[in-house]
């Protein structure tokens, strides 16, 4: 059964000179329950916009998205999101940050704190329960953000380049962490990235979007066996897939550079 259905979603931003800027053009996609789906594509392909539409943070101009059978018309219960920028609340400790979603509901505090501790432990931050985000490294802050999203038991986890701001070493570490986490939780995940290795390492399927306007260019099944690890990046299957993806995306980028006027690029940002 599909958890997320994207039905002919188009998005345009009103542009100057009477021309609307088309960012997404009739994108349709089904995400089955428990799948790890990766959206990849060159900048301007609308991958973040598509994710924001799924989250209910942006409205589609045409078409609709349903999650677990319900139309998305705003941020919904059961959908968690992790952003690229650090969004931990700086005035709350790690524990309070993770408990934030639960505390909004006004549910039993003691029960919450047990749950929060379990999740904090799960992301490996038990020693930092009382720390403020400013005392944590970037990778740890993203762990807090993931833990905070998981605490509300979402069915779907949307991740918008969550490791994009991290340095290469930490990023690899976080990928391993996420693989491990997903292996146990089996949430439906939609993960936006522009890192090809990351896409292959994490995804069951990779949706390649082409830019201007954003369209689905190709959907690839990643047939590399799970559970995966960073060692898999050297296998021949992985290398072949990386080559294919890179060729595809770079070809798009070049075609795109030839076509794009500079003002369009900046317009594509959400």
């Amino acid at each position: 059964m599909s958890m997320i259905q994207i039905q002919k979603v188009s998005k345009f931003f009103p542009g100057g000179k009477s021309k609307n800027l088309l960012v997404l053009d009739q994108v349709s996609l089904d995400v089955p329950e428990g799948e790890f789906l990766v959206l990849i594509g060159p900048s301007g392909c609308g991958k973040s916009t598509l994710l924001r539409i799924m989250a209910g943070l942006a409205e589609p101009s045409l078409g609709k998205v349903t999650i677990a059978g319900r139309d998305v018309d705003g941020p919904a219960v059961g959908v968690g999101m992790v952003f690229q920028t650090y969004t931990s609340f700086p005035w709350l400790t790690v524990e309070q940050n993770v408990a934030f979603g639960l505390s909004l509901k006004g549910t039993d505090r003691i029960k919450n704190s047990e749950k929060v501790r379990k999740i904090v432990d799960r992301v490996g931050l038990s020693k930092f329960l009382a720390a403020f985000p400013s005392q944590l490294s970037g990778g740890m802050q993203q762990r807090v953000a993931i833990a905070r999203a998981l605490a509300t038991d979402p069915k779907v986890l949307l991740m918008d380049e969550p490791f994009g701001a991290l340095d290469a070493m930490i990023r690899v570490e976080m990928q391993a962490f996420l693989i491990d986490l997903w292996q146990q939780e089996r949430k439906t995940v939609v993960f936006v990235t522009h890192d090809i290795d990351e896409a292959i390492l994490l995804g069951d399927r990779i949706v390649v979007l082409s830019p201007h306007p954003g369209r689905i260019h190709e959907v690839l099944n990643v047939k590399i066996a799970r559970p995966r690890s960073i060692q898999d990046t050297e296998t021949s299957d992985f290398v072949a897939l990386r080559h294919a993806l890179r060729t595809m995306i770079f070809a798009m980028g070049e075609a795109n550079n030839a076509l794009t006027r500079p003002e369009q690029v900046s317009d594509c940002l959400p």
Binding site: L57, F83, T87, P90, S134, A149
Partner: protein, 294 residues
């Protein structure tokens, strides 16, 4: 840093052509130690500089006052001012007037804060309130509060009500706009993260926007409180029968220049103390805010 030495020496136009002597090198070393952009000085050096300026200022004042170049009627020496200060605070009970001024500032400013902070947060959170009120407030802000004093005297007399209103008028509009601006600096991703965690509109305002903007709003209060001190003195000079401003005016009528100095310095001191208080409280309230300077 040691690795910058050759570049900086080469760039020094004074050194062009001439051989670099030991003395030159030493001078440029000290120069660089003190004047490097954004380089922090040690606490001792920094403190000594701050103190040095105060001392130099008082010495300059003293020198000028006792030089005979200025009529002592218009410029008393620091020592005279000190004596008058002691007398006015022990014998003449100037602290009563200071207390009255402080009371007026606290009430007038307090009322401004109670209205301005919630309004500023609403304006910073909802475009509706921003569109409704911002242009109006921006317009009112440019009408000088001091120009309202004659009108307020007619309406309210010269009682405390008039003082409160002057301070309120002088601080409220600016404060509302400052709080709005501070509220607008709350990063949108924080708000969106809260939305995704199921926060209602109300919870976003109280648990995210207010909490996030609080340190900045606190800073806004600190700055605007300083203006309140200006307005109270103006209001008291124009129409009052008590308060430090009134005492300053009275001293002026009797050509009591040292007393004028005492009044001005008193206000200055109270202002500095309230500033210190605000800073200390801020550090206590917002330990998570990283600050490199006060």
């Amino acid at each position: 840093m040691a690795n910058q030495i050759p570049n900086i020496l080469a760039a020094d136009p004074n050194d062009a052509g001439a051989p670099v002597t030991h003395k030159d090198r030493r001078r440029s070393y000290i120069w660089r130690k003190i004047f490097t952009i954004r380089k922090e000085l040690s606490n001792n050096v920094g403190g000594a500089l701050s103190l040095a300026f105060f001392v130099a200022f008082v010495a300059g004042w003293w020198g000028l006052a006792s030089s005979g170049l200025v009529n002592p009627l218009f410029l008393p020496t620091p020592l005279e001012v000190y004596h008058v200060a002691i007398r006015s605070y022990t014998v003449d009970k100037l602290w009563l007037d200071l207390g009255i001024s402080v009371y007026r500032v606290l009430v007038g400013f307090g009322i401004a804060v109670i209205v301005a902070v919630p309004l500023g947060i609403l304006m910073g959170s909802f475009q509706f309130f921003r569109s409704l009120l911002e242009p109006f407030l921006a317009f009112l802000r440019y009408m000088p509060a001091t120009a309202f004093i004659p009108l307020l005297v007619l309406w309210l007399g010269i009682d405390d009500g008039q003082k409160f209103s002057v301070i309120w008028l002088g601080t409220f509009f600016h404060l509302t706009l400052l709080v709005m601006t501070s509220t607008l600096t709350v990063p949108l991703p924080l708000i969106e993260a809260a939305m995704m965690l199921g926060a209602t509109q109300r919870q976003i305002v109280t648990k995210v926007i207010w909490r996030s903007a609080k340190p900045l709003i606190f800073e806004n209060l600190r700055i605007v409180l300083g203006w309140a001190w200006t307005y109270i003195v103006v209001a008291e000079i124009v129409a009052a029968d008590s308060g430090v401003g009134y005492q300053i005016l009275k001293a002026s009528r009797f050509l009591d220049t040292p007393m004028i100095f005492v009044g001005i310095l008193s206000i200055g001191l109270v202002g500095v103390l309230s500033d210190f208080g605000f800073n200390a409280l801020g550090r206590k309230l917002f330990p998570y805010v990283q600050r490199n300077r006060v």
